[in-house]
C-alpha cells in the first residue's frame, strides 16, 4: 500500500525453484504467474453443462472442469436401480459416447484443457473423450487435461471404487502407458489427499497417505516397464486447506520436500519435473457449517490464504452454502471473489514463500515431514520394502480407514466436549437465521436421461456392441494386453458405461469394503 519496493524472495536457501523445493516449485512463484483459479462445477444433463462450458470459454477461460453424477462415478447407467434419485444431482450424467458428444459439442478440444474428476471408471471416460476428439478430427496427442484417476484414495476415503485394488491398478498402469505413448499433454493421475482429509484424517495423515499413494503409483508404473521420468513429470497432486493455518502451510511445504527427496533418492528420477510436487488446493468443504452459513466466507478466505502461502498451483474456494447443497450462483461468485481478494489485494503474491525462515513455520514443516516419514516407514514394513505392497496391505487390513475413523471420532469428541471451538456450532451460536436460497435439482433430469439412453440403445448396432465388449473382457483376461484400445472400440460402438464396466467385472470382480469403524 505504501509502495515500498519488495524483493522477490527473503530468508534462507535453498530458494524456491531449488531442490528440494520446500519453498516452492518455481523461482519467482506468483510474481511471474498467479495460481490458477479453477472452480469445479457441473450438474444436470450434458447439454446443460455444455452451455456452461461455452460460457466459460467465451469469457476467456481455457480450462474446463467436469463433475460427474454419482451413478457415473460408480460406473452405473442412469437406468440402473442403483441410480434412483441420483441422476444428474451432483454432476453431469454420462451413459454413452452420445452424452460425451453433447458435453463437448462445438468445443475445439485441441484448444482447451479439460479436467475430469472421476476414478473408478476413468479409463472408459477417458476413452469417450478421445473418441469425441477423433470424431472431430483431433488426434489424442493434441489433447490436454487431467483425469483424477486416483484409485487408492477411493478405498481409503472416498469409496467410489468398482474393482478390487490390484485389477484397478492394472487399469491405471494401462492408462499411464497409453497416455505416455499417445497423449503426452494429458495428466493421467491427480493424486488426491483432499478426500482423505474430508473423510476425517489429520493434516499429517492426509500428507502421508497421499504421497504414499503417489509412491505406490510410481512403483506400479515402473514395474509395468514405464521409465520413471516418462510419466512422473505428469503426475500432479490435490490437497485440502483446512482451518489450522500454520499446520496447513507446513503440510504444503513438507509435501514438496518429501516428494522431491523420494523421487530422487528412492526412485532414481533424474528429470527435475519428476521431482516437483505441483498441486491443486481446495478449501475444506467439511469445515463449512450449516449454522450461520455466511460466516463460512471468513473460513474460506483464511483457508485460501493458507493455500497461497503454501505455494499452490491452483485453487478452488468453496461456496458458503455448500454444507447443505450445491452452491447457488451468487455463493459461487463470492467464493471466486474471495480468492481474487487474496491474490490481488493482500500482497501475498509479491514474494515467494513469505513465511520461509520463520522458526515456527520451519518447525511445523519439519514436524509434518517427521510424522509422514513415520507412516511411510510403517507402510514400507507392511509391504516388506515396497510402498505399493504396503498400500495394498493397508487397504486390505483396514489400516487407512481405521486411522481416518479414529481421527474423525477424536475431532468430533473434541467438538462435543467443547475442547475444540467451532464458531456457530458449539460457541457463539446466536444469530443463526436459518437456511434460504438453496439450489434444488429437479427430478426431470432423471427421466430425460433415461429416455436418452433408451434412444441410443435402439439406434446402435447390437452386434458391434457385443463384439467389442467381448474384446474388452478378453483384454482384461490377458495380463500382457492394454485395456485402452478395446475400451475405445467399445465406446465408439456406443456400449454404455455400465456395459463396459461389467465386461471387465466378469474378470476383475467387485470390491466390497470390510466395515472398519
Amino acid at each position: 500500500m505504501s509502495g515500498v519496493p519488495v524483493e522477490p524472495i527473503y530468508g534462507p536457501g535453498p530458494y524456491p525453484g531449488e531442490y528440494p523445493y520446500t519453498r516452492g516449485v518455481y523461482p519467482s512463484m506468483y510474481r511471474s504467474r498467479l495460481w490458477t483459479m479453477r472452480m469445479f462445477a457441473g450438474f444436470g444433463t450434458a447439454e446443460d453443462t455444455n452451455a456452461r462450458f461455452k460460457d466459460i470459454l467465451r469469457n476467456g477461460g481455457t480450462g474446463l472442469s467436469t463433475a460427474f453424477d454419482m451413478p457415473t462415478l460408480m460406473g452405473r447407467d442412469s437406468d440402473s436401480p442403483w441410480a434412483l434419485g441420483e441422476v444428474g444431482r451432483a454432476g453431469v450424467a454420462i451413459d454413452t459416447l452420445a452424452d460425451m458428444e453433447d458435453l463437448f459439442a462445438d468445443i475445439d478440444l485441441s484448444g482447451v484443457s479439460t479436467s475430469m474428476t472421476i476414478n473408478g471408471p476413468a479409463a472408459i471416460i477417458l476413452a469417450m473423450y478421445v473418441a469425441v476428439a477423433e470424431k472431430n478430427g483431433i488426434s489424442p496427442d493434441q489433447l490436454a487435461g487431467t483425469i483424477q484417476n486416483d484409485i487408492f484414495k477411493e478405498y481409503q476415503a472416498q469409496k467410489e471404487y468398482i474393482y478390487p485394488p490390484r485389477p484397478s491398478v492394472r487399469i491405471l498402469t494401462d492408462m499411464i502407458e497409453y497416455t505416455s505413448e499417445q497423449m503426452p499433454r494429458f495428466h493421467p493421475v491427480s493424486i488426491s489427499g483432499y478426500h482423505i482429509r474430508e473423510a476425517g484424517s489429520t493434516a499429517a495423515q492426509e500428507l502421508a497417505f497421499t504421497l504414499a499413494n503417489g509412491f505406490a503409483y510410481v512403483e506400479a508404473a515402473t514395474a509395468a516397464g514405464v521409465d520413471v521420468d516418462e510419466f512422473a513429470g505428469r503426475l500432479s497432486f490435490f490437497f485440502n486447506s483446512h482451518n489450522d493455518f500454520f499446520e496447513e502451510i507446513g503440510k504444503f511445504r513438507a509435501a514438496r520436500r518429501i516428494w522431491a527427496r523420494w523421487m530422487k533418492e528412492r526412485y532414481g528420477a533424474t528429470s527435475e519435473r519428476s521431482m516437483l510436487c505441483r498441486f491443486h488446493t481446495q478449501t475444506a468443504g467439511v469445515s463449512l457449517t450449516a449454522q450461520q452459513p455466511e460466516i463460512n466466507i471468513a473460513r474460506v478466505a483464511i483457508q485460501a490464504l493458507a493455500g497461497a502461502l503454501g505455494g499452490t498451483q491452483s485453487l478452488h474456494t468453496d461456496s458458503f452454502d455448500e454444507a447443505l447443497a450445491l452452491p447457488t450462483e451468487k455463493a459461487a461468485r463470492i467464493a471466486l471473489r474471495t480468492q481474487q481478494i487474496v491474490a490481488h489485494e493482500t500482497g501475498v503474491a509479491n514474494v515467494a514463500d513469505p513465511l520461509g525462515g520463520s522458526d515456527y513455520v520451519e518447525w511445523m514443516t519439519d514436524e509434518m515431514e517427521r510424522q509422514a516419514e513415520a507412516i511411510f516407514a510403517h507402510l514400507d514394513e507392511l509391504g516388506h520394502g515396497s510402498i505399493l505392497e504396503g498400500v495394498y496391505e493397508g487397504i486390505e487390513n483396514g489400516y487407512f480407514v481405521g486411522e481416518i475413523a479414529d481421527s474423525a471420532y477424536r475431532f468430533e469428541r473434541e467438538v462435543n466436549n467443547g475442547n475444540r471451538i467451532i464458531v456457530g456450532v458449539n460457541a457463539f451460536t446466536d444469530g443463526d437465521d436459518g437456511q434460504k436460497d438453496l439450489l434444488r435439482i429437479e427430478a426431470e433430469v432423471e427421466e430425460y436421461q433415461r429416455k436418452r439412453l433408451d434412444d441410443v440403445k435402439l439406434a446402435r448396432n447390437d452386434d458391434d456392441v457385443a463384439r467389442t465388449l467381448a474384446a474388452v473382457t478378453a483384454a482384461a483376461q490377458d495380463a500382457t494386453a492394454n485395456v485402452m484400445p478395446a475400451i475405445l472400440d467399445a465406446v465408439k460402438a456406443y456400449a454404455t458405461l455400465e456395459e463396459v464396466v461389467m465386461a471387465m467385472e466378469t474378470e476383475f470382480g467387485t470390491y466390497v469394503e470390510k466395515a472398519i469403524i
Binding site: 478390487p164 516388506h384 486390505e396 487390513n397 483396514g398 470382480g509 466390497v512 470390510k514 466395515a515 472398519i516 469403524i517
Partner: protein, 336 residues
C-alpha cells in the same frame, strides 16, 4: 403394529421359516430369564442334528471374509447355513459395534446371519450361545457356524464346544504362538492359514506343524489318529474356501466314523449344564450375601468373632439345604 406374540407362537413361526420370528426368539435368548428357559424347553426335542462349526482367530485374520465365502458356497450347494457372529462389548458402556456382518448379496438368501455381543460377561455368553445354536438347529439351519474374534478364554470355550473347531491364522502376526498360549491348539480340529499368498505363510505352517508334533504325545492325535489339517487359503481372492469346507466335512466324517461325535455332544451338554449351574449358584450366593442371615455371618466375621472360612461354610451349608430357585433366607434365620 403387529400384536405381541407369545414365545410359543414365535417358535412355531420360526420353525415354519419366518425369519422375523427367529430374530425375535434370538433376542429373547440373549436376554435370558424365563423366556429363554421356555425356548430351551421347546427347542430341545427338535434339535441335535445340525453340524456345529466354531471359527475363531485374531482380529484381521480374515475370518469374516472366509465365513462369507463359506456361506455363499453352502447356499449355492443347497444348504441352509446359520452364522452366529460373536463380538466383544465395550466393558465400560456395555455398548458394542457389530461391524463385521457378512454381506449376503441376495436378499432372499437361505442363510441367516445374527450378531451377538458378549455384553461384558462371559457367563451370559456361555448360556446364550448354546441356546441360540439349538434354536437355529430347531429352525432347520445346518450347519450352524459360530464365529468369534480373538484368542481368549471365551473363544476357546465357545469354539471348543463345537463339533468342529476351526482356527484361522495369518502370516506375520505371531498367531501360532498366541494360539498356543491361549490353549486353542488343543481344541482346533482344522487350521486355516489365511492370506497364504503373503510372505511368511509357510513359516506359520511350519510353526504349526512343529507344535502339532510336540503335542503328539498328549494331543488328540495319539488317541484317535486324527491330526488337524492345515489348510492354506486366501479368502480375499476367493481361494481355499472349498478346501476349508472339505477339511471341516472330513473332520465331521471322522467324528461319525469313530463315534466321537456323541462324545462332543456329551461334552457340550455337560459344559452347558455346568455353566447354568454356576450361574444359578452365583445368583444364589449373591442372594445369600444380601440376606439377613448372610449379613449376620459377615458381621461376625468382621468382628473377628469367627474366621471367614467358617462364615462361608455356614452359608454354603444353608444354600445346599435350600431350593436353589427360591431361597428365602428369612425363614431360616433361626439356624444361625
Amino acid at each position: 403394529m403387529a400384536a405381541k406374540r407369545s414365545i410359543r407362537e414365535l417358535y412355531v413361526a420360526a420353525r415354519s421359516g419366518e425369519r422375523r420370528a427367529l430374530g425375535r426368539l434370538l433376542t429373547a435368548v440373549e436376554r435370558g430369564g424365563p423366556a429363554a428357559d421356555e425356548i430351551s424347553e421347546l427347542a430341545h426335542p427338535d434339535s441335535g442334528t445340525a453340524h456345529i462349526v466354531g471359527i475363531t482367530g485374531s482380529p484381521g485374520a480374515g475370518k469374516s471374509t472366509l465365513v462369507g465365502q463359506l456361506v455363499s458356497d453352502l447356499v449355492a450347494a443347497g444348504k441352509k447355513p446359520a452364522v452366529l457372529a460373536v463380538d466383544p462389548s465395550s466393558p465400560l458402556t456395555g455398548g458394542a459395534i457389530l461391524g463385521d456382518r457378512i454381506r449376503i448379496e441376495d436378499g432372499e438368501s437361505e442363510a441367516f446371519i445374527r450378531s451377538m455381543a458378549t455384553r461384558g460377561h462371559s457367563g451370559g455368553l456361555a448360556l446364550a450361545v448354546p441356546l441360540a445354536v439349538r434354536v437355529f438347529d430347531a429352525a432347520g439351519y445346518d450347519p450352524v457356524i459360530i464365529e468369534t474374534v480373538g484368542v481368549g478364554q471365551v473363544e476357546v470355550d465357545v469354539v471348543g464346544a463345537a463339533d468342529t473347531a476351526v482356527v484361522v491364522m495369518t502370516p506375520g502376526m505371531g498367531d501360532a504362538v498366541q494360539a498356543n498360549k491361549a490353549g486353542l491348539l488343543e481344541v482346533a480340529d482344522v487350521f486355516v492359514v489365511n492370506k497364504a499368498d503373503r510372505p511368511g505363510a509357510n513359516d506359520v505352517r511350519r510353526d504349526l506343524d512343529l507344535m502339532l508334533d510336540l503335542s503328539h504325545m498328549t494331543g488328540q492325535e495319539s488317541e484317535t489318529g486324527y491330526r488337524p489339517p492345515i489348510v492354506m487359503a486366501s479368502a480375499l481372492h476367493g481361494d481355499g474356501s472349498a478346501d476349508v469346507w472339505g477339511a471341516v466335512e472330513a473332520h465331521l466324517a471322522h467324528l461319525d466314523d469313530t463315534g466321537l461325535r456323541d462324545g462332543r455332544r456329551k461334552h457340550r451338554m455337560r459344559t452347558e449344564v455346568k455353566a447354568r449351574l454356576e450361574q444359578a449358584m452365583s445368583a444364589a450366593a449373591d442372594q445369600a450375601m444380601d440376606s439377613t442371615v448372610g449379613a449376620e455371618w459377615l458381621d461376625r466375621a468382621e468382628r473377628a468373632d469367627i474366621a471367614p472360612t467358617r462364615a462361608t461354610n455356614e452359608l454354603l451349608a444353608l444354600l445346599l439345604n435350600t431350593d436353589l430357585s427360591n431361597i428365602d433366607m428369612q425363614r431360616n434365620q433361626e439356624l444361625s
